[in-house]
């Protein structure tokens, strides 16, 4: 049946209805209610214990260590990642090869192994000496006093993170159209100026979301430092339930803090993305609004008349 009938003026527009959305909402509400009720009704969750330990000094101290380790390792990792990514794309084959080798090695061995390796560095090199090879020696360090659990943790986490970040940064750089580099070079910029003034600022749009992933991953990866005897949020939690056997409530304490940190990071990420996305927003073009059906019919009438 075709609709070529133009004789009527009183056509009304009926918006499309989506009953599926209502059905999904109802199902979700029921599931949420069930979970909520069970969380309150099931005493084994131990909410009183959770409340008791949420702000306990060892937990807060562990939380601070987690934040410090994450912040410091990510900062070093990001700087390292940028240098490695720029190195990978260097026309100098030695630099490019070295950057590739670094990523291959640090992505190719488990983080756990790397942490232990740095911690036990003194077994391999008891002394670290600064000087000219085969020449004079200026500074001597005892490796055991240099490599504390903290330095080993920072070395392990940040050097490993640098390898992953380098691939993220490289992806961002590749995503910037070649014409941008050419335009920068055409106004007399060197390769490095073009990279740091033109390409990298635009690459940030692509770099930020996976970097957010890395930060959140790092929050949780810091718990691996447990193997070298360093204590952070997860270790603090474990040492408490090892003593009190309140395993589930203590795990909930840890989970709550991880979720709070992730939430804060997600908000921060939102603002960073907004900032590096300047100039890339969906542009508000001055556009004629689409005609409504009634207007369209009226226009056609006029044309016909």
């Amino acid at each position: 049946m075709t609709d070529l009938d133009r004789s009527r003026d009183d056509l009304t527009v009926v918006p499309a209805r989506y009953p599926g959305r209502w059905a999904a909402a109802v199902v979700m509400l029921v599931i949420a209610a069930l979970i909520g009720i069970s969380m309150v009704a099931n005493e084994r969750f131990g909410w009183d214990v959770v409340a008791q330990y949420l702000f306990a000094p060892p937990i807060v101290a562990g939380l601070m260590t987690t934040l410090m380790l994450t912040g410091a390792s990510m900062l070093i990792g990001i700087v390292l990642g940028i240098l490695l990514a720029v190195g990978r794309l260097s026309p100098n084959p030695i630099v490019a090869g070295a950057a590739w080798l670094y990523s291959w090695f640090f992505r190719g061995t488990p983080l756990l192994v790397q942490l232990l390796f740095w911690f036990f560095l003194s077994a391999l090199y008891p002394k670290i000496v600064l000087g000219v090879p085969f020449g004079p020696e200026w500074l001597h360090f005892d490796t055991n006093s240099l490599i504390t659990p903290l330095t080993a943790a920072l070395l392990g986490l940040s050097l490993n993170e640098g390898a992953y970040m380098s691939e993220i940064v490289r992806a961002g750089i590749i995503a910037v159209p070649r014409g941008q580099t050419e335009a920068a070079e055409a106004i007399g910029m060197t390769r490095m100026q073009a990279m740091f003034r033109v390409v990298l600022p635009q690459a940030m749009r692509v770099i930020i979301p996976p970097t957010g992933n890395e930060v959140i991953g790092m929050l949780k990866n810091t718990s691996l430092v447990l193997v070298i005897g360093y204590s952070e949020l997860m270790t603090a939690t474990q040492s408490i339930y090892a003593r009190t056997f309140e395993t589930i409530p203590m795990l909930i304490v840890a989970a709550i803090w991880y979720l709070v940190m992730t939430a804060v990071l997600s908000i921060a990420q939102h603002y960073i993305e907004k900032r590096v996305g300047r100039g890339f927003e969906q542009t508000v073009r001055v556009q004629k609004p689409a005609m409504t059906v009634t207007e369209a019919i009226a226009t056609q009438r006029r044309v016909k008349a």
């Binding site: 159209p177 014409g179 941008q180 050419e182 335009a183 920068a184 070079e185 055409a186 106004i187 007399g188 910029m189 060197t190 390769r191 100026q193 003034r197 033109v198 600022p201 635009q202 590096v276 300047r278 100039g279 890339f280 927003e281 542009t283």
Partner: protein
């Protein structure tokens, strides 16, 4: 070089990509203050030749000079020393280039796009550069758009900003690589008008274009290229209106349709 020093001199310039030779020995002179248009079918090598002039592409054979300076090399006695990144960048700063896809920096405003070159590559005084940039933007009719981002402008406006950005480096020579090919037809005129104005001020220009009207009105010399060779050169009245070569004739017939 002697008293007659052309803005651009190319002698037997060759360029290959792998086994494909895209420039098969191009020789031409472009006098100072003149406008040369490069015409030809796509794949004829005209854009590649243009990109060789500011060393975005490295030539594989022949010689080229811009304002008496050898492109890509420095001659010491009988040796040609390949230039390094910093020296190439310095040479490029004296040559403005306008791209088919505008290539404005999307993360910077119109004004920031225009002042970026002098500030970064010449460490120029910011207040002076902003003044120059505003003059240039008013010349291209975009003074009211200084704080916009490129994505908020039409194609024609973006290309005019790109021209201002190139001019802010105070170039001796301007290269245009199909500057109107990516534009909607109704926006072509505004860009061509800016280019005409520039030609009227005595700027040396090399323009790769398909705009026959512009070539006829503005060019001092038209070079027709095909298959990596220079087929025919001369004033537009000769090359466009009375082409001598069969290749030129068939190309112009297709363009005129």
């Amino acid at each position: 070089m002697n008293a007659y020093e052309p803005m651009l001199r190319a002698i037997e310039v060759r360029k290959s990509y792998g086994h494909v030779e895209v420039l098969k020995g191009i020789s031409l002179d472009i006098p100072r203050g003149s406008v040369a248009c490069l015409l030809g079918p796509s794949g004829s090598g005209k854009s590649t030749f243009l990109r060789c002039i500011n060393h975005l592409e490295k030539i594989d054979g022949g010689e080229m000079w811009v304002a008496g300076q050898r492109v890509g090399y420095r001659r010491v006695g009988s040796r040609l020393h390949e230039l390094k990144g910093r020296e190439i960048a310095k040479a490029r700063a004296a040559i403005g280039m306008v791209f088919q896809q505008f290539n404005l920096f999307p993360h910077r405003t119109v004004l920031e796009n225009v002042i970026e070159g002098p500030l970064v590559t010449r460490r120029a005084n910011k207040a002076d550069t902003v003044r120059t940039a505003r003059e240039l933007l008013s010349r291209v009719g975009l003074l009211d758009k200084v704080d916009r981002y490129p994505a908020q402008l039409s194609g024609g406006q973006q290309q005019r900003v790109a021209i201002a950005r190139a001019l802010c480096m105070d170039p001796e020579l301007m290269l245009f690589d199909e500057p109107t090919s990516a534009l909607d037809p109704e926006l072509v005129g505004e860009v061509l008008d800016v280019m005409k104005d520039l030609a009227g001020r005595g700027m040396s220009m090399v323009v790769v274009t398909h705009e026959m009207g512009f070539a006829r009105d503005v060019a001092d010399v038209v070079h027709f290229m095909a298959d990596g060779l220079l087929v025919e050169s001369g004033p537009p009245s000769q090359v466009i209106d009375d082409p001598q070569h069969e290749r030129t004739r068939s190309f112009l017939a297709k363009v005129r349709e």
